[in-house]
Every structure is written in structure tokens, then in C-alpha cells.
Symmetry: C2
Subunit: 496 residues, 2 copies
């Protein structure tokens, strides 16, 4: 019974994963600073124990035997996904992983201090080392996975996505956005000339913001029997599916950044809470990759919660709790629908955000394949920023290629997930509306039950039993198509 | 290098222990109810992983080889304590442990429901089973440890303590308390007749109680860089030495139960925070047993914080934060020095508490050795309660032998620790006063530095490198002696 042996291993790995997830939450939410050293030590030991257990050579025999055993479909899918993750975990040597982890840790530390100083030159040697290691990783993985080197990296974050397909939808979207951004800015200027945006006057006490956040989380379906909301410096959604730990942070001069952040993380949380319970300790029952996860948070934030109908429902609640007198839905939408060109990805709105991602996608492919040298990244960055967003980053490294932690920490192939997620969310919403033409009216009533039922059936219940593209195809009837996201942007931002 | 192999193992066990400790804290403080099932599963898997790792047969070889290696004194002590704990961990078969854990879990569950119903008869069969398993455990351990069966159980909680020695000091104390309790009650009645106790008028808002608690924790030496205070249903001191997590619970009609509880737990916390850092992943550097731990919490609570001088320092702070107008130190002491006979151990004051413990010590010895049958416990209990405290528990099982969770959960040999700790604390205080005759005056100034320096040098820094009796002997110059605790009680309760 090799399935039984794999099952036992999955339970052990899940227990360590549970501990790691909860220790991570505790570190961000509760841990006093002095606890950090021993915590890091404990986390390191747990990680290496899990790695050893998950990569033991005899597991290959268990998998091979389990594949010949009589199993039901869910068990077969479990073994297949376990095999995929086992291959991905074992195709790098421990030596190489240790080298890479060390280099990434040093490069990330360097990045933290040098970014503030805009110091590209001192950062470059360490960054060149990281790029070289990423190339080596990509080649080793590519050989085992029979993929192109860059695809082998994308596979780590978004299983089944291929760069040719990503390039196709990104080219479509980039072409669209070039013309769209100026149009959206003009439409916005006209709207503002007609109705100057009204300031939402604070202060907004934290306790009241929290009450509103909790109420809206509950309304959209978050289960507080299996999760909670805390405060941390960087908001996140962590924990485990049976106990989802979300965080936010509050400022008292405005409430929308925290509230929209809560709704975004709630999208991640709903996905986790609604994963299947059977075989939940197997990788096949975990959430499917970064792009799918981001599609769920962006579905919640962009497709549901920035929609006018959402505020028809939510504004009376916000008014009662926060005391927003004389604020209309349109007043609020002027704040949540705002397009602005800027340098920084994490501050970008949903219309300009994809251009930040496409720029990184294009550059990192060139880096991984060696067609672009690390030292030439600032020039390439400046050229693309100027072309896509009309902003020069010449000499401005900290707001250019030094703004993100991803590359210094060794994460190449991750960036596309953000925009793939945004496009997937728009395409999912279109499918929801085909299935329930009054979906927007349901939102206006604060009724998310049918929408969540669609998501549960088509996305959440699939867990990792299919690849990302296949879940999308089955859920929406077609492969990823940029058109839905483009239509969404037109509908939202070109009105006057 | 077998020391190196043991060192590596200790690091792994410490990492799992770290996770277990923090998951335990999270469960009590933060976890939503629905997270419980998966949490219990994860904790069970972590416990069995740790047990497997810690009891592997090849460890015996590592220990034997390490004993022949050239090691410094701390390393030698580390190996010796590791060996002691390895022998204690491995002297029961996995089968037996599993049988015992299951029986205890069932008996404890039964106890929870039947205690409320005062139903001894339905509880008895399960309890008989637990007693039989405890006898079996005691015999097996006794054979390996070359101790008497009951001593072999005491050894699990309080290494080095022997029942003959415990019986000697308990007999002394029991003889003393028989006459003392009536005298203390009379003295108290006279005091109250002269100065009727003043009610401390609430309500006391939780935020203010918390502010006072935090301030006093800090004043007595708790390091908030390495710890914090939260709220839980049952107050405890958990976490790890580098990150001590204390909890309390508040009621708004009075503040002393929470505050004295905080100071009690702070005693545990100070011990943990001040354990040595070198080799801290070895058992030799962990806190020494239950009696020593309880001596530290009772030192903080009974010896320091219920002392009049403490309130000379603390009352002005309490007055400023809580607004206690017209409350004098004597008014406060009337509340914190209160003697009352009662049925329930956990509600008892420091003067009557030892009688509750001695009763249990006497009964559990008879149970473990088989001289008393489980079915005859209520009769023995009633006889002793009547003799020691003048209270009959005939037919009142829930306030008699069914009041504590210890026996239903299989913990025999644990009870003496509470009163040993109280006696040790009094003896330690006497040693402090010999070393610094103005120690009480230091407390009145809110200066705990010299007192904590004594505790650090004589108790905390010893960790588990010596047995409990040996630490006491070195710290106070003599073996445990009931006289110090008796003097303490006389000084505190016989004044008029």
C-alpha cells in the first residue's frame, strides 16, 4: 500500500506546514522583536526537516507503486500532483539549493539597505550572482521538466502556464492599454471637472474601521468560525484552510486603503476556506498556484468590491459605522476608480498595473535566457517605462529596477501571476454573469451566495487537481482571453 | 563526534518544541473554534514525530560514545541530563504509552461531563482503569530507575525529589498547620473587628487593569523585548525562553485576582527568560521541573508581591492608574492576606493550600502502591478533609475527589510540587534576606535588581544542570526545611 505510505507522509508534511504557517502569522502579528532569532532558527530547522522528508529517494518508489494500485479518481489526482511536486522539489541538488538560499538572503539584505540609497552599483555584483543562479536553476529544472528554462521557473508559481501563452495575452493587453490609458485619463479628467471629487473627511477611529471591515468580510462570505482578522505591518492572508489568518493595517486619516485591502485578502481567504476537505493533507487539495490565488483576491476586490453595486449595498453600512454624512456612491467611486501613471507597481491602479508587470515579464525572460545582462537592466527598464507609461527612470534605480523584493530574493517567473490573475478574474466574472445575468443586482442587495456558489463549484473545489489553464477553460469555456479584462476596464473607466 | 550528533538532535527537538509551545499559545489566545480539529491533528503528528526522534534506539549509542568524549563541564552536564531524560522517555513501550494516552483522554472527557453531575459511580470504572495504568507505569519506571514506584512518578515532575523527604517536610508542615489555621483565623477575626475591610470599589476598566499589570510586570523585571501579555480563559505562562507568552483574564468588578495572577505568572516568566543561553537547546538548560517552577511563581506572588512593602511601592501606581481613592496599604492587605477554609484547592489561600496538597499526596501514594482501592477514595478524602480542614465531603464528589483534572488525566506524583514550591520560595526568600538584609526595603522602593540578581545566580542560571534538592541546597545552604514557610505564615497571618 504505497498510497498509504504517501498518505502518512502527507500528514506529516501537513503538520509541519501547519506549524510553519502559524509561526509565520505569529511572527508578523504578535512576536516581540527579541523572539526573532530563535524563531528564525526554529523555522530553519522545520524547513530543512520538511525538505528532507519530502525529497527522500524512497518516495520515488512509493509513487511508482502507488501509480499501479487501484485508486479512485481523487486518489489518482492526488498521486499525480504529488509526483509533480516531488519532481519539482528533487530536481535541484541540496547543495545548489543551499547556495541559492544563501545568495538570495544576502542579496535581499543588501537590497534593503541599498535601495534606500538608490545605489545600483554596489547592488549589481550581488544581483549578477542571483541572476546567474536563476539561470542555472532554470536550466536544471528545464532539463528535468522538458520545458524551456523560463517556463520551468513559471511552473513553480503557476503550474501549467507557459510563456508563449502568457506572451500572447500580454501582447494583446499591452496593445490595448497603450491607447486605453490616455483615454481613461481624459475621461477621468472630464468626470472630475463635472463633479470634483469630495474629500472623505476623517478621522476614522480604528475600532470603527475594524467593525466595518469585519461586517463586510462576513457579508461576502468569510467564515469567522475558521478564521480571524488581525493587524500587521504588511497585510497578508496566511494560516491554513481550517484557520485562515488575515491581517490589515489602519490609518485614521482615511479608511479605503485598509478596507479595500481587507476585501482583497478576503478573496484569498475565501479560496482557502472553501478548498475540499477530503484528502486535504495532499498537495492536490491545496490552492492552485499564484495566478489562481491572485485571481480570487482580485475577483473579490476589483470585480466585486470596486463595482458600483457593491457600494449601493456597502455605503449605508459604512455610513452607519463611520458616520460618512452626505457621501454618495458616486463620491465614493471617485476614490476607488482612480487611474494614475506612476513609478511604483504596488501603488498602481488596476489599469496601469499590467504595464508594470509586462515590463518585468519581458525583462526577466531576457535575463533568464541570458539575452540581457544584469548590468543592462536599468537601461531596459527606463526604455520600457518611457514607452509604456511615459515616465523616465534614468538614474532613478530605487523607483525603477530596485523597487521590488522579488528578483533580489531569487523569484523569477512570479511577476506574470499578478496580471494573469487580474485577467482571469475578469473572465470569471463574465462567466458568472452568463450563468446569473442579475449577478450585479445580487451584489447591490449584499447577496453573494450565488456568486460564491459559482466560485466554489468552478474554482475552489478544483484545488490543484487540474492545471491553472485547465481550471480556467472548464470554468469559463475558453482559454485565457485578454478581451474580458479589456472590456472590464472600458466599462469602468471610459464612462463620463 | 557523538556529542555533535546529540547536539543536532537537540536542535531538531527544540524546533518542534518551539512550534508546539507557540501553537499551544495560539490555540488558547487566538484560534477560532473551527481551527481546533486540524490543530489537534497537527499537534498529534508533531508530538509523535518528536517522540520518535527522541526515543530512537541509536541515541543510546550516541550517549554512550559522548560520555567517553572530551567535553567541558557544561557539555558533560548536558549529556548527563539528556541521558536522564532519554531513560525516562524510553522506559515505557510505545504500545503502553498509546494505551495510557487513550485511557487518559477518555477518562478526562468523562470527568468533564460527570463532575458537573457529581456522578462518582459512572466515573469510577474509568478512574479504576487510570489508576491501574498508573500502577503499571510506576512499576515499569521503578524497575528502570531503581526507585520506589511512587518516586518513579514524582521523578517525572520534580527530578531528584523523593517521597521519604517529601513526607518528612509535609509531616512537619501538617503538624504546624493543624494549630496554625485556627490561630490565623482568630487573628484575622480580631483584625477585621478592629478595621473592617474596605471594599475596593469598581468598576475597573480592562484597559486600565492591563496598563497596571504591564507596568508592574516591567517593574519586577519582565523583559517585553522577549515576551508579552495576552488574554486567555485559563491564565498561563507559555512560549519559549526567548519569547515568553503570558496570559491573564480580567473581570471589571475587581482587579486583584487578575493582577495577582499576572504577578504569579511573571514569576514563571522571569525563570524562563533568565535561563542560560549557551546550549539552550539541550534539556540541561531548560527549567528544572514543576516544584522549582512553582517556587519561582510563588516567590514572585507570595514572597514579593503579597508583602506589605510591595504595596508601599505599588499602591501609588495602582491609585494613579485605577483611581483608588482613600485606599491604604492596610486596606489592600486585608484583601490579599485572607485565610479561609474551603473545599476547592485552586481557590485556597496560601495557608490552607498545603493541606489540600498533603491530602492528595497521601491518597495518591496509597493508590499507586495499591494499599487504597480507587473505589475507596471518597471515604479517605472525606476523612482527611474533616480532619485537616473541618469540612466533610461525604457524598460531595465534585468538591471532593472529582475537583481536579490531574488524576483523570493520569498525572500522579504531580501534586506535591505545588507545596514544595511554596516551601522552597519561603526558604529562598530567607536566603535573600540573609544576603541582603534590606531586601524588603528595596521592594518598598520598587527596586528588584538585587533580588533578581540573587535569583539569577542561585536558581535561574542552574537550569537543569542539578537536581531540584541540590539547587536548593546550594542556594540556601541546607535541604528543604518547612520552618521557613511556617515562619513566613506566622509573620504574615498572626499579627493583629
Amino acid at each position: 500500500m504505497s498510497f498509504a505510505e504517501l498518505d502518512h507522509l502527507c500528514r506529516r508534511l501537513e503538520a509541519i506546514g501547519h506549524a510553519q504557517a502559524m509561526l509565520g502569522v505569529d511572527e508578523a502579528v504578535n512576536m516581540p522583536e527579541g523572539g526573532g532569532e530563535k524563531r528564525a532558527e526554529a523555522m530553519g530547522v522545520l524547513a530543512s526537516m520538511a525538505h528532507e522528508m519530502a525529497t527522500a529517494p524512497h518516495i520515488a518508489d512509493w509513487i511508482a507503486k502507488a501509480e499501479t494500485e487501484e485508486l479512485d479518481d481523487a486518489q489518482k489526482a492526488a498521486v499525480a500532483e504529488f509526483k509533480r511536486s516531488y519532481i519539482n522539489r528533487t530536481c535541484l541538488s541540496s547543495d545548489f539549493v543551499a547556495r541559492q538560499v544563501n545568495a538570495a538572503m544576502r542579496c535581499e539584505q543588501l537590497w534593503r539597505s541599498l535601495r534606500a540609497k538608490n545605489d545600483w552599483n554596489d547592488f549589481l555584483p550581488s544581483f549578477e550572482n542571483i541572476v546567474a543562479l536563476a539561470q542555472e536553476e532554470a536550466e536544471r529544472r528545464a532539463e528535468v521538466l522538458k520545458l524551456s528554462p523560463y517556463d520551468a521557473l513559471v511552473e513553480q508559481y503557476d503550474p501549467g502556464s507557459r510563456s508563449a501563452e502568457i506572451a500572447r495575452v500580454f501582447a494583446d493587453l499591452k496593445g490595448f492599454l497603450k491607447g486605453f490609458i490616455p483615454e481613461a485619463l481624459e475621461a477621468q479628467a472630464r468626470r472630475r471637472a463635472k463633479h470634483p471629487p469630495k474629500a472623505l473627511a476623517g478621522p476614522f477611529p480604528i475600532e470603527k474601521q475594524k467593525a466595518l471591515g469585519l461586517e463586510l468580510m462576513k457579508a461576502v462570505g468569510f467564515d469567522f468560525h475558521h478564521g480571524r482578522l488581525d493587524v500587521s505591518h504588511h497585510p497578508f492572508c496566511g494560516g491554513v484552510p481550517s484557520d485562515v489568518r488575515m491581517t490589515t493595517r489602519y490609518r485614521t486619516d482615511e479608511f479605503l486603503s485598509s478596507l479595500m485591502g481587507i476585501l482583497h485578502e478576503t478573496g484569498h481567504g475565501l479560496y482557502e476556506q472553501n478548498l475540499p476537505h477530503d484528502l486535504s493533507h495532499w498537495p492536490s487539495m491545496k490552492a492552485r498556484g499564484m495566478a489562481m490565488h491572485e485571481s480570487q483576491s482580485l475577483f473579490q476586490e476589483m470585480q466585486l468590491s470596486r463595482r458600483p453595486e457593491f457600494w449601493v449595498f456597502a455605503l449605508p453600512r459604512a455610513r452607519e459605522i463611520l458616520g460618512l454624512e452626505d457621501v454618495s456612491v458616486d463620491d465614493l467611486l471617485a476614490h476607488v476608480h482612480r487611474v494614475e501613471r506612476g513609478f511604483i507597481r504596488v501603488d498602481a491602479d488596476e489599469a496601469t498595473y499590467p504595464l508594470h508587470v509586462i515590463l518585468r515579464f519581458e525583462i526577466e525572460q531576457e535575463l533568464v535566457t541570458g539575452r540581457l545582462a544584469a548590468k543592462d537592466v536599468p537601461e531596459a527598464w527606463n526604455a520600457k517605462m518611457t514607452e509604456y507609461l511615459g515616465l523616465s527612470t534614468a538614474g532613478n534605480y530605487k523607483d525603477g529596477p530596485m523597487q521590488d523584493v522579488h528578483w533580489p530574493s531569487g523569484a523569477f517567473g512570479y511577476f506574470p501571476s499578478y496580471t494573469l490573475g487580474a485577467m482571469m478574474a475578469a473572465q470569471q466574472w463574465a462567466a458568472v454573469e452568463r450563468a446569473a445575468p442579475d449577478a450585479a443586482a445580487q451584489i447591490a442587495r449584499g447577496d453573494f451566495s450565488a456568486i460564491n456558489a459559482w466560485r466554489r463549484e468552478n474554482i475552489w473545489s478544483k484545488a490543484s487537481m487540474l492545471s491553472t489553464p485547465e481550471i480556467m477553460r472548464q470554468a469559463t469555456g475558453e482559454p485565457l482571453n485578454a478581451r474580458y479584462f479589456e472590456e472590464h476596464l472600458k466599462n469602468r473607466y471610459l464612462t463620463t
